[in-house]
Amino acid sequence: MGDSQYSFSLTTFSPSGKLVQIEHALTAVGSGQTSLGIKASNGVVIATEKKLPSILVDEESVVTNVNQMSLLQVQKIQHLTPNIGVVYSGMGPDFRVLVRKSRKQAEQYNRLYKEPIPVTQLVRETATVMQEFTQSGGVRPFGVSLLVAGYDDKGPQLYQVDPSGSYFSWKASAMGKNVSNAKTFLEKRYTEDMELDDAIHTAILTLKEGFEGEISSKNIEIGKIGADKIFRVLTPAEIDDYLAEVE
């Protein structure tokens, strides 16, 4: 596979003990569009900016199916299983590949154990894939950080997975361009006993903080999961309702 000159790992240690490629990958994440997640007492909400590069981009919604997974041409929040959703900051194509792999792993787990995959297991397996790409020859790390939101027997959970393959459980977190402002805002606003609707309002306010231009249902995406354990991406109409409430 290619010249022997290039079949070594691009992530070799630097003298200071860092993996430079991973640092660069984190920079790529840091320049991606802001996304955030908040874990409420009875659910999880994840949200992201969706700034299209030009008004000419066609983002017509494709058919909505039984599982309520409408596939917009540009949809940043994706389902991994009926009760686990994911959003990213960073490179869209890398995200697509990871989502595909994670879905397959979740399905294999389900087939083997006849049990819906617990959120921690799926996060761990996705993180393993991301780590493999930091220790193989001829590949580069993924340029995305993921926020995985799920609700299983252990309750609502929110995890962040980094390009290095490390994962963290968060009560509330943000990634991307506006990360420092967003995190400060969340630290101030977060309370342990927040309900899901409060969390959605807080998420919208946090996005608004660093938003360039007018915030509307067309340039943000929100996904939520409640005690019903079904992950849903909110329709533009629902987002408009929440925006009106926040005003």
Binding site: V63, N67, E107, R111
Partner: protein
């Protein structure tokens, strides 16, 4: 036909069992029953070499796992049968499964008896398998095969739905199933009736173990298929209503239950329409099982009690602690 394959994954077991058998000096045929798993080439050992006939060159060599079905054990099984070993029978569903298209969609029906030769292994098994929210599949043939194949294709359909964001189509399920069955050349003994309603309308198909398929307005499969088909041929017409359709399917299954030995017990029905499905488990129970006589039992002749002796099975023991308590 991997009937006689026994998995001895652990080296220690093999060695021990060989010594045990050698000491008992059993008929050598028994030794052949415990050959190592052909898919695990990473376990060469002195004991496994003793059992390994014809594949000794591979012991100790790391052979990468290849895809597809390995027919090595089939040759061994044939040899054993020629030597006179009777193959154990596997769980067949000897079955009646039917499907028909009615005005608004598809109705599938099945009996609930699973047989193992002349014995009823399961009096109330489920033969209508879930493939997708809008697609169900009845299975006849070897129970393990139908379960495994429908499970696998159902899993593939789910992944496909996530990728495309659309509902699954019946023709997709059909193609995935027939590709799989054809590649196994009929060794996966699953005869299926696949029905569902998708964006292109209601569909009903039959799939044979070798991988051929039919598209029909009404279909029957299994050992009771002729009994059920006679009912369909006489009474089916296009544009049946839901109730007429259910009645006809129940009649066809009952015809299989009462006239075929391999089918029996209850009737399961599944009605699939656009955007909605109803799984009527045990819709009819024409063979109720009475376990206890409702009248109760009375013994006319009284038996004389000559002697009574009661032996307690548990003894009550008193524990008294003597001496000092143990030091930590």
């Amino acid at each position: 036909m991997d009937l006689l394959k026994v998995n001895w994954g652990r080296r220690k077991h093999s060695l021990f069992y060989y010594l045990f058998l050698a000491s008992k000096q059993l008929f050598p045929l028994d030794l052949y029953l415990f050959s190592p798993n052909p898919f695990r080439f990473d376990q060469p050992s002195s004991s496994s070499r003793l059992f390994d006939f014809g594949r000794m060159s591979q012991a100790g060599v790391d052979v990468p796992a290849k895809g597809g079905f390995s027919f090595d054990l089939c040759k061994r099984n044939d040899m054993l049968i020629q030597k006179g070993l009777k193959a154990p029978s596997f769980l067949k569903t000897g079955t009646t499964i039917v499907g028909l298209i009615f005005k608004d969609g598809v109705i599938l029906g099945a009996d609930t008896r699973a047989t193992e030769g002349p014995i009823v292994a399961d009096k109330n098994c489920e033969k209508i398998h879930y493939m997708a929210p809008n697609i169900y599949c009845c299975g006849a043939g070897t129970a393990a095969d139908t379960e495994a194949v429908t499970d696998m294709v159902s899993s593939q359909l789910r992944l496909h739905r996530y990728q495309t964001g659309r509902d699954s189509r019946v023709i997709t399920a059909l193609t995935l199933l027939k590709k799989h069955l054809f590649s196994y050349q009929g060794h996966v003994s699953a005869a299926l009736v696949l029905g569902g309603v998708d964006i292109t309308g209601p569909h009903l198909h039959t799939i044979y173990p070798h991988g051929s398929t039919d598209t029909l307005p009404f279909a029957t499969m299994g050992s009771g298929s002729l009994a059920a088909m006679s009912v369909f041929e006489a009474k089916y017409k296009e544009g049946l209503t839901r109730d007429e359709g259910i009645k006809l399917v129940a009649e066809a299954i009952c015809s299989g239950i009462f006239n075929d030995l391999g089918s029996g017990s209850n009737v399961d029905i599944c009605v699939i329409t656009k955007g909605h499905k109803e799984y009527l488990r045990n819709y009819m129970e024409p063979n109720p099982r009475t376990y206890v006589s409702s009248k109760g039992y009375s013994f006319t002749k009284k038996t004389e009690v000559l002697r009574t002796k009661i032996t307690p099975l548990m003894e009550r023991v008193e524990i008294t602690e003597v001496g000092e308590a143990m030091e930590e």
